[in-house]
Assembly symmetry: C2
Homo-oligomer: 119 residues x 2
DNA sequence: TAAACATATGATTATTTGTTCATATGTATA
DNA sequence: TATACATATGAACAAATAATCATATGTTTA
């Protein structure tokens, strides 16, 4: 179907009013994309494992690599993504950099996710 | 580094005890993957838009396509993913199939996500 | 039962993304 | 200041994935 053809089928008029109403209530494009980007960050088991580790305490990069049995580089790349999403923060102590959870949203979101899959 | 080389660097012994402790507390592989898979489903703006629409009321596939200005096929593919993740359910009414939210975890998770990005 | 409508789905393609490798940056210490 | 250590990052490659197209399935009605 060509772009610009509004209807995907013939049933458009069935709930035209409902669609119009909903259309006005949808969040803006920016907000939707930001939200999807945020959840994308949770959508990788390496990053989930990092977040679980940080539930207990802050931890430095090489300990994380050891814990997850991954290269320092791979862990560092993922930490960068977590940091850009403001899910973790870091502090330097000498040669080492310690990462920790940025706030409690992380716990809540993961807890809700656990609730869901355990149902 | 070859697989089997445990250390990524020389600092392993610095927090060896911490790593061991954490290692015993990490969730199982299955749980971690299920969780990541779940959040992957939230990590797409099309699916987020579908979920937002379902916040208001159940809605049929072609109305969703109209609302999102997408093809029926694309919407249907995404609904399948949402359904496999048990985030939505459906019921047939005549020729049309209505989708609706499976439970309240969806709202909670998205609300927490919104909280986070709006900070 | 045939035709029209609504939805589902397999195959293909373009894009995104996680890991690896090599290397750069930053910090401490001899 | 030279060296070693800890972390960060760019490029490349393989794997995952969202939209499209064509078509199949399921339902209603003439």
């Amino acid at each position: 179907m060509a772009i610009g053809d509004v209807e995907c089928c013939e049933c458009t008029e069935v709930h035209e009013d409902k669609v119009k109403l909903l259309s006005g209530q949808m969040p803006g494009e920016d907000e939707l994309c930001d939200l999807a980007e945020l959840f994308k960050v949770f959508g990788d088991s390496t990053r989930i494992r990092i977040l679980f580790a940080l539930f207990r305490s802050e931890i430095c990069v090489c300990d994380l690599a050891e814990l997850l049995q991954m290269t320092q580089s791979a862990v560092s790349h993922q930490l960068r993504i977590l940091k850009q999403a403001r899910l973790v923060k870091s502090r330097r102590e000498g040669k080492q950099v310690y990462y920790f959870l940025a706030d409690d949203h992380v716990r809540t979101i993961i807890d809700q996710g656990l609730d869901h899959i355990q149902e």
